[in-house]
Structures are given as C-alpha cells and as structure tokens.
C-alpha cells in the first residue's frame, strides 16, 4: 500500500526517531498512570512523584542522547529512567519495593538508578545533583571522553544555592553538561512565580552565568529533541554548558499526597489541550505514518506494561539480608572490628 513519505523534505528528525519517541511517550504515560493505579491498590508504598503531562521533556532529551551519555534525575525521575530504556518491570518493581525492582527495593521511587543505562541516580534533595553532574562532566573533560552529562530538575530547584553554585562552576570550567529545567509552574504546592524574582526561573538566571537564555515548549517532543541535540553538540565540541528551560505542566499533584487543589479553574484543561502524547500522535499522522502503526505501538506498550505489572505483583519482597548490604564497598556494613 502506498503512503506518504514519512520523512518530510528537510526534516532533521526522521521516522525512526519519531516512532521511538512516540513509543516512549506512550510508555511513560501509561507507566505513570499504572503507578498511580497501583497506589490506589496500596501496592505502591511510600511516596511517588509522577511526570504525567511532562513526558515530552524526558523523551526528547533521552532520545537525542548517545549511548554513554549520562542522566541525572530528580525524585520525579520515573520518566527519565524509562526514557533511557530501563525496562518498565524494573521501575514498577522498585515502586512496589519488590525484589525484582531496579534496586531491589533499597532505593524506592525517588532514587531510581541504572548505571548500565546511563541513569546515574535520581536525587531527592533539591539541587544536589547539579554539582554531581558537573563532576561527571569534569571527568569527561579530564579524560577526553565524548559523553555529555544531562541534569534534569524542576523550577523550584532554581531557588536553591546548589543550582547557582553548579551553574557558575560549570560555566567557569566549561564543562560538557546540560542543565534541563522542567518548569511545570509549581515548586511543590506554591506557584513558582510567587517565589521567584524573574519570570523564567532558569532562563532568567542564565545571563548571570554567561549562558544563553533558552525557553522551549516542553510539550512538543520534536522541539525538545532539537534543543537537546544543539546543546549536546555544543557540549561535545567543548563549548561548555547549556541551561534549557522547558515549559511544561504536571497533570497530577506534586506527590501522591497532593490533590493539587491550589490550581486555578481551567488551568489543567488548558494544558490538556496541549497534551504531549496527543501532539505527537498528530505529528506522526502529519508525517504520513499510518493509524495502524500508531495503534500497534500503543498496544505493544500496554502488553509489556500489563505483563510487567503482573510480574511485579507476583514478585517476592526483598530478602531481609539486603538490610545491611552495600553500605560500604566491601558489600557489607561493618564499621568496626
């Protein structure tokens, strides 16, 4: 059957990447929704911070990465972890604090880490990982490696000291690091505009560190992907850090405890009209990708997710001896002889 060419003239992204991005958008959307459903069944314990509505930021930056590039995430890190290709079973298993989880239940939702996928940790102390990403980038610079360290954080992070220390440090040392601010309009419960001196919490500070002020549409995975590629190329070429502010929105509250009742009437509806999954679905159609291909991606994702969910439900809890493993590098916890 004939169809329109998927690669439009002069398009820089192309069908393969677009299909990969769409699959990942759907995977994250459905996995986060599943995580929420599992809360309601009391199968996900502790806290959890969902990225529903913010998927395109994770997807665009991750899909523009090369193997070996490093992601540094926050406690809102499920999306960034999945986007690097970590199996959804491993992520859900960790949220459910099972033995099949990414860290066998020792870290939990806020600390997803998979070094083999370049996910160098999810950090739950605001701002902590910006300097850490600088250090990884310093290693790349010192060793002559070509990888880029990419550090994701929320708008609230721009008001903590470590943000400013890291930006200055990275700029002075010209480090191959990309700082990605996901501006979802709320620090936690408080609108970011009420507690920030500039309109754009990240971009408005860029000039203080000699950096370009970059604000992008974080709901459009293509725009995110292009901004990411540009920043990565600059970093790999020795051009130093970038700071990119992505305008986005979280559909749910800050964490599982937050019903997000502080939001003005109609705000959520307005953002739902610019839903990143919907936007991208339309984009695929514009590029001539057939409906059935799109449907199959969705079905594949759901099959894997359902299977993962069942495996996690059936998975044992971590063995009790894990309590004292890996405190020190010898694998144990001995602090005395």
């Amino acid at each position: 059957m004939a169809r329109k060419p998927a690669r439009a003239p002069n398009d820089d992204i192309g069908e393969d990447v677009r299909l990969r991005m769409y699959r990942m958008l759907v995977e994250i959307r459905e996995a986060e929704q599943r995580a929420f459903d599992l809360f309601l069944q009391n199968l996900v314990k502790g806290t959890s911070h969902l990225s529903l509505g913010q998927e395109a930021v994770a997807v665009g930056f991750a899909c523009a990465m090369q193997p070996g590039d490093l992601s540094f995430c926050t406690y809102r890190g499920h999306a960034h972890t999945l986007a690097r290709g970590v199996p959804v079973e491993k992520v859900l298993g960790e949220l459910m604090q099972r033995d099949n989880g990414l860290m066998r239940g020792k870290g939990g939702s806020m600390h997803l880490t998979s070094e083999e996928h370049g996910v160098m940790g999810s950090y739950a102390i605001i701002g902590a990982h910006l300097p850490i990403a600088c250090g990884a980038a310093w290693r790349a610079q010192y060793k002559g490696h070509s990888d880029v360290s990419v550090c994701f954080f929320g708008d609230g992070t721009t008001n903590i000291g470590a943000f400013h220390e890291a930006l200055n440090f990275a700029a002075v040392w010209k480090l191959p690091v990309v700082f990605v601010c996901e501006n979802n309009l709320y620090m936690e419960y408080t609108p970011i505009g009420e507690v920030t001196a500039v309109e754009h919490p990240a971009a408005g500070r860029a000039s203080a560190y000699g950096l370009e002020a970059i604000v992008i549409d974080g709901q459009d995975a293509d725009e995110v992907y292009r901004a990411a590629m540009k920043a990565y190329e600059k970093a790999r070429a020795g051009g130093g850090p970038s700071l990119i502010e992505c305008m986005t929105y979280r559909y749910s509250g800050h964490s599982r405890a937050d019903p997000a009742k502080y939001r003005p009437e109609g705000e959520l509806d307005k953002w739902l009209k610019r839903d990143p999954v919907k936007i991208y679905r339309e984009r695929l159609k514009q590029f001539g990708i057939e409906e059935k291909v799109i449907e199959k991606i969705g079905a594949d994702v759901m099959r894997v997710l359902d299977d993962a969910t069942e495996k996690c439900k059936a998975a044992p809890m971590p063995p009790l001896e894990l309590l004292t493993t890996d405190v020190y590098a010898d694998g144990g916890w001995a602090w005395r002889n």
Binding site: R104, A128, L130, A166, N168, Y328, D330
Partner: protein, 326 residues
C-alpha cells in the same frame, strides 16, 4: 628518614598518590596557585599541572558535588574544604549523597573520594573556624573518618584514604600543621581502621585523636614522673572503621579507660567507645570510664578562654590521677 612538618606531609601524601595514579585529581578553594590557605598544598600545581590541581570558586556544594560526580564515573578525587566548620554548608553531600548512594542503588554507585579539611581549635579563630567536627562525620553510616596526629600518619592514612573505595573524611588538625616528625623515605601506605599504641603502659588506657594525642602523651609522662602512674596512650587515628580490638585489648590489660576528645561533649566520639567498653569490656573495668572533653559550648576566640576549653595536659593528668585515686 627525614623530618617533615605535618603541613608538608599533606602535600607529600597527595603528590605520592597523584604520581602513582593519573585518576587522582585535586580541587578546592585556593589550593592550586596559592598552595592552600594553610600552605599544605604548595607545589602540587607546579608538579601536576592545572588539569589535575584545580582552584574552585567559594562553592562548597559544587566542590563536593563535583568530587562525587567525578568519583562515580571513574576518577579518584581529593576535595579540600578549607575549614571543617564549612561542612555545615555542604553537609548534604557528606550526610546524604556520598554515604547513601551505594546503598540506595543496591551497590551500583561507587564513591571513592577523599574530603580533606582543616579541623580543630587553637588558632583563636572563634566559634565558626575552630570546631572539631569528627563526631558530625562519625555518626553517618557509609562514611569513613580518619584524623592523623603526626606527619607519617598524614601520608600513610591519606594514601590509604585515596586508595579506599569508599568516601573518606580526612581531618587534618590546624594546630598540628607546624609540628614536625620523622618520616621514612619512599612510599608510605597505612591501613584505615587501625589504632596505634603510641605509649605502652599498664595502669590506664588513654584514647586520643589528632591534637589530643601529643597532649595525652605529655600527660602520661607527667603522670609517670609525678605519680608513678603508667598510662597506655592509644592514637585512635580512625573513627570509622573503628579498631575496637586494640582498644578493648588495652582495656583488658590496664582495666581503666579514659578518652581525650576535642569535640564538644554531647555525642562525642568517646561516648560511642565508652558504650562499647560498657557492653564488651565491662568485667575488665576497675572503675568508671572517664571522658575528658571540650565542654558543650561554642568555642571562644580569646586565647585564655580557648586554652581552657580544650582538654589540656594538666586537665588530662589531673583527671586521670583523681580517677585512679592517686
């Protein structure tokens, strides 16, 4: 064998490790061109160049965070925090990041780094540049904590710390930088987690750390000369790992235990050791263990006040003498 200052031993220890391993890098405030505010890192920039010996902004979080990111990805950084009091502005890394990443990641994340810092009183700097923060560090699972008392140990323990796969807090005592000691030629590598009996004795065991070691030794000599009390002095050297076997072994011979601690009293390192002695050495004790500490106060600047705040030779000797009923 050469006589070396504690300060020069720091530079020699770092140089020894940097010469051995190109993955060892060093960063901190004023450490490169200026050679450190305590002049403990003079010559390293010239010897190893600006890629490996790097001046940073006054950004303690950036220093420790960068050290961690570098350590996680293959380097062996040595980071300097100028005064240990400044740990308070970068404590997230010391308390939350370095020591927990391996555990939380189920063993994936490694953090082989050393944080060197100027610790302790005696410089009349007042309450925010004089503290002994070893107990702040000791209480955190996942860290190792060492505090050398002499130039030879500076080199050997620093080398051991750099080669160790875990994050190590390396507490240099500011009032010891100018002191001298004999140091053997060639490479020196010590072992973390080993206390050292620096004066054998039979009547009482005195545990001390860093600046308190020479004071405990002087007190032991005074007790011997004036009261014929023969004290065993142990330089604890390493709080984590803690060499309890050397300590309990000594207690089993002397039957009395004293700690000499520069940290303020509450939750000082000696409290943990006394608790271990109570648990495991109770029937070896002929009297209550005694902690000789700085009182639970911020430190004053004035010399006459600071001098009486820290355990002195006379206070140590007097406390031991009274406890032994001599």
């Amino acid at each position: 064998m050469a006589e070396l200052t504690y300060r020069d031993a720091v530079a020699r220890g770092i140089a020894q490790e940097m010469a051995r391993d190109p993955d060892v890098v060093f960063l901190g405030e004023d450490v490169a061109k200026a050679g450190g505010v305590f002049k403990a890192t003079v010559g390293l920039l010239e010897q190893f160049g600006p890629l490996r010996v790097r001046d940073t902004p006054i950004s303690e979080q950036a220093i420790l965070g960068a050290a961690m990111g570098a350590a996680m990805t293959g380097l062996k950084p040595i980071a300097e925090i100028m005064f240990s009091d400044f740990f308070a502005v970068c404590f997230d890394y010391i308390a939350n990041e370095f020591p927990k990443s391996r555990y939380m990641s189920n063993g994936q994340t490694k953090c082989p780094l050393v944080v060197r810092t100027g610790n302790g009183a005696g410089s009349r700097f007042g309450a925010q540049h004089s503290q002994s923060v070893e107990n702040w560090c000791m209480m955190i699972p996942g860290l190792k904590v060492v505090a050398p008392s002499n130039p030879r140990d500076v080199i050997g323990l620093l080398a051991a710390a750099v080669r160790d796969p875990d994050p190590v807090i390396f507490l240099e005592h500011k009032s010891l930088y100018a002191t001298k000691g004999e140091v053997p030629d060639g490479e020196i590598v010590d072992t973390l987690g080993t206390a050292s009996i620096v004066r054998p004795g039979k009547d009482a065991t005195i545990l001390a750390l860093a600046l308190m070691v020479p004071r405990a030794l002087a007190a032991a000599e005074k007790l011997k000369a004036e009261h014929h009390i023969d004290c065993e002095v142990i330089d604890v050297r390493s709080l984590v790992p803690l060499d309890t076997q050397t300590i309990l072994g000594s207690l089993a011979r002397t039957h009395r235990l004293f700690t000499v601690e520069e940290n303020p009293r509450l939750c000082g390192w000696g409290a943990e050791i006394v608790s271990i002695a109570a648990d495991e050495g109770f029937y070896d004790l002929d009297g209550p263990p005694v902690r000789i500490t700085t009182p639970h106060i911020p430190l004053p600047a004035a010399d006459i006040l600071e001098d009486i705040a820290l355990p002195t030779v006379d206070r140590i000797a007097d406390r031991v003498k009274r406890s032994l009923g001599a």
